[in-house]
Homo-oligomer: 203 residues x 4
């Protein structure tokens, strides 16, 4: 297998990319300047050297000069009495983009599988418990920000169960993100659960 | 224009139906039993005779024997201290289907247009004010259940403005359905407004 | 079950219509003028009285005054030496709309099932053979215009087998619609079969 | 801008990739083994060194050891009396995948713009004319294999005009890929042009 095929095979493993689009990516690259290709190659090659998983919140961040904890975890401008637990890096980014939260984060690494799946991504549940124990004396709230789907709800239940003993001792509340009508929702197309939540959480 | 074409022309006016599907509807009917066609024709012909707009909540309901107010408005099992204002009949049906509300309704007939549109459907704003004035002495809450989109929000603002003077005198709260993550939402794909609401309404 | 529900149940049986859209059709009708509903009901009720299956080509047509053969079969302007065999009424309409054919038609009523299906729609194969026998002395060509999918190809093979003995005696050619690139096709996305056909049929 | 953002910005320029998917690509890469990233980076960096545009047919091919003409152009097994003109590399690949053609190719580089567009990709029209002049003494056919859309048809017309003087002198026919029903086509949904072509090209 030659270079074009080999590179297309890599692109085909990218999330959501089929064989045709993978091939189109290669032809797209073939039309770029050599300098662009070199730059891109260098970025990919050094991606894991210049990026580190934060030892505190476990998000990926640019590693140079920050040491072992990321820029959010070490920022003097964040409210260290708030901890938000998210499933994935991209969820954390969506919260940051919204500009509505200034506390700290913990990236769980996924959701608790609904069925016993042996090769599921291991969640950082032990690390979470340790992190919350460390923060507990100063904590005012832990926000579980998992998705509003069965896996997310099961994960929230599981995490709440793990953290409840710590929360009762200190004490601090464990909250969930509000459920209700999301932007763009029409009542007509909303399911029973959303309507129930929208009614319960009316204000 | 003959029968097939004429009937296809009617079906083409149905919401979401193009010329091809309209034609397919006619050929579908041509393959049905004569008895089925007669039954369907009778249902359409008598639709407005056997159906009435409730003079109290303005929803369409089966008219026989109920008089001028619908079965929900006259039911002894509904909580008459709660009034929910919805845009359309199908929204009311979605709430009923959810089995999470036992108060009364008012069908507004649509949303306040965001821009001045001369031929917009006239909303029942005067009727709403009168209805709320009549119910006011016994009212414990008015719930504005418009959609979570710009038109719905503008309508909610407008309705709140109209009802506030009555609400202050009696008094009763005017609430909105809760905003937040609707079922199935992933944080990753949620917009800024939904994240803000989900954070504010956490519990 | 009342009128609204009953009518929605009928609409739900229409091809491609789910429960929500069926309901929306009923509310759409509730907003129409009584005269419109009466007119529509009459069209549906008389659909099968004012429409007949042509005894010659088996298409549905407006029945009044034409007798037992349809306006295409009895037109003096059609070329009676050409017979095109189509699967369904809507295929015949697509050909007529294209304005590129002035011969006669025969509506087969569907495709030969690829697997043995006991309740498949019965095709008019006997009627087709009789029709072709009647037309044979004057026939210059029989065009099999089934779809370019496995069922259509299998049907074309089957029909060709049935008609070959007649075609050899008289004789007249039995043709298939041309295969190749259809309008809008990109080579990039074309399957092997289409490319093979497009190459073979190049001109 | 750091590595993650920079790499996401590159992916965002890939055909059909938006900002969210670009980000997901980066997080996908962050979860890969360092060896995989190195391999991929090397493939991208050397893509243009190990790949060359064939000086004869202008397709991209693996360059090592083949010299300046590609493996198709120099193969002793290809029929050098047939030349097929395609728009893009991926079209050539689709033809090769179909296994139905064993002649030579010429990659035009795109389509003739329907409107005057100053920065349209320059087509290899001069190169095409020269190539056909060189091949002319031995040519039995030139096949124009552009797409069945307005740009493709306009390009075919333009190319035919350019090559006609050479074709008349030698002489060899200039053909187009066949038009008709492509695999999967239903007559019901076919446009006028496709039906006309399918009728004209029946056989």
């Amino acid at each position: 297998m030659h270079g074009i095929e080999k590179l297309a095979a890599y692109f085909q493993k990218f999330p959501g990319i089929g064989p045709r689009q993978a091939k189109r990516f290669v032809y797209f690259l073939l039309r770029q300047e050599p300098r662009t290709l070199e730059d891109m190659a260098k970025l990919i090659e050094t991606l894991r050297n210049k990026t580190a998983e934060c030892i505190t919140c476990h998000r990926f961040y640019e590693a140079d000069g920050y040491g072992a904890s990321c820029d959010i975890c070490t920022s003097p401008n964040r409210d260290t009495s708030l901890l938000m637990i998210v499933e994935k890096d991209v969820d954390l980014e969506a919260i940051e983009r919204s500009g509505t939260y200034d506390g700290l984060y913990f990236v769980l690494g996924g959701t608790v599988p609904l069925m016993e799946i042996s090769d599921a991504a291991p969640l950082r549940l032990d690390e979470l418990v340790k992190r919350v124990q460390t923060m507990a004396p100063g904590l005012k709230e832990v926000i579980i920000a998992t998705g509003a789907h069965p896996e997310g709800e099961a994960t929230a239940d599981h995490v709440r169960g793990l953290l409840s003993p710590i929360a009762e001792k200190n004490p601090f509340p464990i909250t969930l993100l509000g459920r209700g009508l999301s932007t763009g929702s029409e009542l007509e197309y909303s399911d029973r659960e959303t309507i129930r939540n929208a009614l319960q959480n009316r204000r």
